[in-house]
C-alpha cells in the first residue's frame, strides 16, 4: 500500500479557479498569502503528512490509545509525529499574528486540515479541538486570558478540549449539571463529570486547556443558564510557568469502532477536592455563545474530516483497481485477465468516489473562503452577505460531506471486494473512522433541524434565495457553454427548481406544523446539499473549460487535469445529481405517516 499523497494539483485548481484564492490574498492582512507562497506551503506540508503522519495511521488503529494508572498514552509514533508538526510551526498558520499566528486565510488552514485528516484523522483531532478552544478564547476571553493561554495553543505546544457533553446531556446540552461556584478571588470551583471529551488527556503536549460548560448555583434552567470556563490541566503562573496539577481526572476512555487512537475521555472535575480551578470566559450565563463559536468552525472541520477520509479511500481504491486482475473486461484480448479498473462497474464506483470527493473539496474550500470574506472584506455589506452564506452552508457542509464520506469509504471497501472485508488491507479503517463524523458536532439530524429551523428562515428565506439565484446564474452560463456541458445544464436546472419548490413548501408548511418541517428536514438537507454540490462541480467544469479554451501551452499534465475535471463534473450531473428528483417528493410528503405509528407499535417486532 502506498502512503497518502496530497492531491496538490486538484487542491491548487480549486483554490485558484473555483474559490478565488488570489482575490482573498488581496484582503488586508493576507498580502503575504499570495498563491505562490500558499502552494509552497502546501507542498512541504503534504510531504510531512505523507512521510511522517500517514505511516502512523494504521498503527494507531491497531494499538489505540490506552489509559494506564490514570494517564493516557497515545499509540507508538504519535508523540513524534505531533512534535514534528509543532516544531515546524504548522499549527499557527491560519491564526492571528497578534498571538504568534501565521496570518494566513482560514481557507489555507482548511486545506492543511484536509491533509491532516487524510494522513491520520484520529491524530488530527488534537489540533481540531485546540482550534475550537482558541476560537472561544479569541472571541470571548479576556486580554489577560489570551495572553496567558493563547500563544501556546496557537503554536500547538498546548492543546485544548471542548467539554459540553454529560451522561444525560448530549444533543440536549441545556440539561447539563456540572457546577461552577464563584470564589472570593474571582476564580470558580468546578465540579461534575463530562463524557466524550476528545484528547481529554494525552502525552503529546505539556498542558491541556479544557473549555468547560457549567452552571452557576443561581443560573436559570436550560441553555440560558450555561457559562463557559477555562480549566487548565496544570495551573499557569503569572510568568507563564506551569504550576499545580488541577483536579481534573480521567476516569476512563471509551472503546470505539473507529478513531481508536483518539482518546475519548470521561473527565471528572473536582472529585478529589473542593472543585477544579476554573476561570470564567465571557459573561456568566452567556456560555452558549462561546459554545457556538467553537461549534461553527468545528462543524466545517468535521465536514473536512469527511473530505480527508474520502480522498484517502479513493487513492487506495484507485491504486488497488489498477493492480488487481480479475476476469476479462469488454474489449480485452481473449484469454487475458484485466485489471479490475477496466470493468465498467468498477469504473462507476471509482468515478462516484472521485466525483463526490471533488465536490466535497470545492464545497469545503468555498465555505472557508466565505468565512474569510465575512471576517476580512472591507465592505460591511459584503461581510454580512458572506457571513450569512457561511451560516447557511454550515449544516450542509457538516452533514453532506460526512454522509458522502460514509458512502465513499464504503465504496472503497467494495472496490477491494473480499480483500476489503479482510482487515489486513486496512481499508475498513477509513469506513469505521468515517461513521463518527455523521454523529458528533451535532448529529446530521441535528444539522437538518438547524437548517430548516434557523438557517432557511434567515431574512425571511432571502439567504437561501440569494444562493439559488447564484446557482441559476451558473445554469445560464452552462446553457451557452456547449454540448460537453449539456447534462450539467439539464440536471442543475432540475435541481434548482426542485429546491425552490421544496423551500416554498417548507416555509409555508413549516410555519403551520413543525412536525411537517422536521420530518422533511433530512431529505431537504440532502436535496439542497446535493444541488450545491452540483453547483460546485459545474463551476469547476466551467473554469476548466475556460482554461482549456485559452490553451495549455503544451502542458499535457495540466490539459489532462482540466479534461478530467469536465468529465468528472459531467459524471456527477448524469449519475449523482438526479438523486434530487426523488428527494422532492420525500420532502413534500409531510410528516403524518412519520408520526402515525405509536411508540408501542414501533417497539414491537
Amino acid at each position: 500500500m502506498a502512503e497518502y499523497v496530497a492531491p496538490l494539483r486538484d487542491m491548487r485548481f480549486v483554490l485558484e479557479h473555483v474559490v478565488g484564492l488570489e482575490e482573498l490574498a488581496k484582503l488586508e492582512g493576507f498580502e503575504h498569502a499570495d498563491p505562490e507562497s500558499v502552494f509552497g506551503v502546501l507542498e512541504e506540508f503534504g510531504r510531512l503528512m505523507s512521510e511522517v503522519w500517514s505511516p502512523t495511521n494504521p498503527v494507531g488503529d491497531a494499538a489505540g490509545s490506552t489509559l494506564v494508572d490514570g494517564v493516557v498514552h497515545t499509540p507508538p509514533g504519535f508523540a513524534e509525529a505531533y512534535a514534528r508538526y509543532v516544531e515546524a510551526g504548522w499549527p499557527a498558520v491560519p491564526f492571528d499574528p497578534a498571538y504568534d499566528g501565521g496570518g494566513f486565510p482560514w481557507l489555507v488552514g482548511i486545506v492543511l486540515q484536509e491533509m491532516l485528516n487524510s494522513a491520520n484523522m484520529a491524530l488530527a483531532m488534537a489540533p481540531l479541538l485546540t482550534q475550537g478552544a482558541i476560537d472561544a478564547l479569541v472571541h470571548h476571553g479576556t486580554e489577560e486570558q489570551r495572553e496567558r493561554y493563547l500563544k501556546k495553543m496557537v503554536t500547538g505546544e498546548w492543546t485544548g478540549t471542548m467539554n459540553l457533553t454529560e451522561a444525560d446531556a448530549g444533543s440536549d446540552v441545556g440539561a447539563l449539571r456540572t457546577r461552577a461556584v464563584r470564589q472570593d478571588d474571582g476564580t470558580y470551583r468546578i465540579t461534575g463529570q463530562k463524557v466524550f471529551i476528545t484528547f481529554g488527556d494525552h502525552d503529546l503536549a505539556d498542558n491541556i486547556l479544557h473549555l468547560v460548560l457549567a452552571r452557576t448555583p443561581d443560573a436559570p434552567p436550560g441553555t440560558k443558564g450555561i457559562s463557559c470556563f477555562v480549566v487548565p490541566k496544570f495551573l499557569v503562573g503569572d510568568d507563564g510557568a506551569l504550576g499545580e496539577r488541577n483536579d481534573v481526572v480521567v476516569l476512563s476512555i471509551e472503546h470505539k469502532m473507529g478513531i481508536k487512537a483518539s482518546p475519548t475521555c470521561v473527565l471528572e472535575y473536582g472529585g478529589r477536592s473542593q472543585g477544579a480551578v476554573g476561570y470564567l470566559v465571557g459573561e456568566e450565563h452567556a456560555g452558549m455563545s462561546a459554545m457556538f463559536t467553537m461549534m461553527n468552525n468545528a462543524r466545517l472541520g468535521v465536514g473536512v474530516e469527511g473530505l480527508g477520509l474520502a480522498e484517502r479511500a479513493y487513492q487506495r481504491a484507485a491504486e488497488f483497481a489498477g493492480e488487481r486482475t480479475q476476469g476479462r473486461a469488454p474489449g480485452a484480448a481473449a484469454g487475458q485477465r484485466s485489471p479490475i479498473v477496466e470493468h465498467p462497474d468498477v469504473r462507476r464506483m471509482l468515478l462516484t468516489m472521485r466525483a463526490c470527493t471533488e465536490a466535497m473539496r470545492a464545497l469545503c474550500y468555498y465555505q472557508a473562503s466565505q468565512i474569510d470574506l465575512a471576517a476580512r472584506h472591507p465592505d460591511a455589506a459584503a461581510r454580512t452577505t458572506a457571513g450569512a452564506r457561511a451560516a447557511l452552508l454550515t449544516p450542509l457542509v457538516k452533514s453532506w460531506c460526512t454522509d458522502l464520506a460514509e458512502t465513499v469509504t464504503s465504496l472503497g471497501i467494495q472496490v477491494h471486494g473480499g480483500m476489503g472485508y479482510i482487515t489486513d488491507t486496512g481499508v475498513d479503517q477509513h469506513y469505521r473512522d468515517a461513521k463518527i463524523t455523521q454523529i458528533y458536532e451535532g448529529t446530521n439530524g441535528i444539522q437538518a433541524m438547524d437548517l430548516v429551523g434557523r438557517k432557511v428562515p434567515m431574512r425571511g428565506g432571502a439567504v437561501v434565495g440569494d444562493l439559488l439565484a447564484d446557482v441559476r446564474s451558473t445554469v445560464e452560463e452552462l446553457a451557452g457553454a456547449g454540448d460537453a456541458f449539456g447534462p450539467m445544464h439539464r440536471e442543475l436546472a432540475v435541481a434548482v427548481d426542485s429546491v425552490e419548490q421544496a423551500t416554498a413548501w417548507l416555509m409555508e408548511r413549516g410555519l403551520a406544523d413543525p412536525v411537517d418541517a422536521l420530518a422533511a428536514a433530512t431529505p431537504y438537507q440532502r436535496l439542497l446539499a446535493t444541488t450545491v454540490g452540483g453547483w460546485m462541480m459545474a463551476r469547476s467544469a466551467l473554469a476548466a473549460g475556460r482554461l482549456l479554451a485559452a490553451g495549455t501551452d503544451g502542458d499535457d499534465d495540466l490539459a489532462g487535469l482540466l479534461e478530467a475535471k469536465v468529465i468528472t463534473a459531467r459524471f456527477f450531473a448524469d449519475h449523482l445529481l438526479p438523486e434530487v428528483r426523488g428527494l422532492l417528493p420525500a420532502v413534500t410528503a409531510g410528516g403524518a405517516d412519520v408520526m402515525a405509528l405509536t411508540a408501542a407499535q414501533l417497539a414491537r417486532p
Binding site: 507562497s37 509552497g40 512541504e44 515546524a88
Partner: protein, 259 residues
C-alpha cells in the same frame, strides 16, 4: 564558519522522465531539490550551528532560471544561493559542471568547506565533487558519513566496504557526503516564508568569466549516441522445497560471495 553546498535541481523522480532529441534528460518543467543533496544541506546547517556562526550558501547549475529546488534548501535554513543558468550549458558534461560550479563557488566569500553529494539522482556520474576540488586545487575527501570541523581542520569518517577510514584535511576542502548519514529537517512554515526573500545571485557563464563555447554541448567533448531501455528484470529462480532447499539457498548465496 561558512559552508558552501553544491545542490542539483532535478525533474521529480516520481514523474516519468522524458528525453530530448539529443538523448539528454528533459528539464523543462519544475525541478526539485535532489534528495541526495538534502543530506549535505542538513550537514552544513548542523556544522554552522555547532560552530556558533556563519552561513550556508548554495551553488547550483540549472536551466531556465529554475529556483524551486533552491527554495526548498533555503527553507531548510540556507542563507543564500548562487544559481548559474545559461542556455550555453545545455548538454554540459560532468567536467563542465565542475568548472562552472567551481567558478560559482569563487563568488562566495570566505568559504571554509564545500560539501556535495557523492552523486546526483538523475546523472549518477559521481565525479563532480572531485573535479571541483581539482579545478579549485583543494583537498578532496569522498564518501563522508560523519564530518567534524575544529581549528581549521576537517575530520571525516570516510565510508568504506569494511567500515570507515578516519581522514583529516586542512580547510578549505571539498567533501562529498554519502546519502542517508543525517536526517534532513523538514522546512518549517517560517522557513518557507523566509525563503521567499533570501537572495539568489543569478549569473550566466559570461558573468563567471567562462567562454560559452568551451562548455555545454559545444565544449563537452562528448555526445550521447544512443539510449536503450534497461533490460527487464529476469524472473527469479523458484526452488521447490524437497527437504534440501536450504542447501540450494546456501549455494546461491555462496555464488554471490556474500557468505
Amino acid at each position: 564558519m561558512n559552508v558552501v553546498v553544491c545542490v542539483k535541481q532535478i525533474p521529480d523522480p516520481a514523474d516519468p522522465g522524458a528525453l530530448e532529441e539529443d538523448h539528454t534528460l528533459k528539464r523543462t518543467g519544475k525541478l526539485i531539490l535532489d534528495e541526495s543533496d538534502s543530506f549535505g544541506v542538513e550537514m552544513a546547517l548542523q556544522l554552522v550551528d555547532k560552530a556558533g556562526g556563519g552561513d550556508v550558501t548554495l551553488v547550483s547549475m540549472a536551466p531556465n532560471d529554475e529556483t524551486s529546488g533552491l527554495r526548498t534548501a533555503l527553507a531548510m535554513g540556507a542563507a543564500k544561493a548562487v544559481l548559474v543558468s545559461d542556455p550555453a550549458l545545455a548538454g554540459a558534461g560532468a567536467l563542465d559542471t565542475a568548472k562552472v560550479l567551481a567558478a560559482a563557488i569563487g563568488r562566495v566569500e570566505g568559504a571554509d568547506l564545500i560539501l556535495a553529494a557523492t552523486e546526483s539522482s538523475d546523472g549518477y556520474t559521481g565525479t563532480v565533487p572531485e573535479q571541483i576540488a581539482g579545478v579549485l586545487d583543494l583537498p578532496s575527501i569522498t564518501f563522508a558519513k560523519h564530518v567534524e570541523v575544529a581549528d581549521g581542520t576537517v575530520s571525516v569518517q570516510r565510508q568504506t566496504e569494511l567500515g570507515y577510514d578516519q581522514c583529516e584535511s586542512p580547510l578549505p576542502a571539498v567533501v562529498s557526503v554519502t546519502a542517508g548519514v543525517v536526517e534532513p529537517r523538514y522546512p518549517s512554515f517560517k522557513g518557507i516564508m523566509a525563503a521567499k526573500s533570501k537572495p539568489v545571485d543569478q549569473v550566466t557563464v559570461a558573468d563567471l568569466g567562462i567562454d560559452a563555447s568551451a562548455v555545454g554541448a559545444a565544449g563537452a567533448g562528448q555526445q550521447i549516441v544512443e539510449v536503450t531501455p534497461a533490460p527487464e528484470r529476469q524472473a527469479g529462480e523458484i526452488i521447490e522445497d524437497d527437504g534440501e532447499a536450504h542447501l540450494k539457498i546456501i549455494d546461491f548465496l555462496d555464488g554471490l560471495k556474500v557468505l
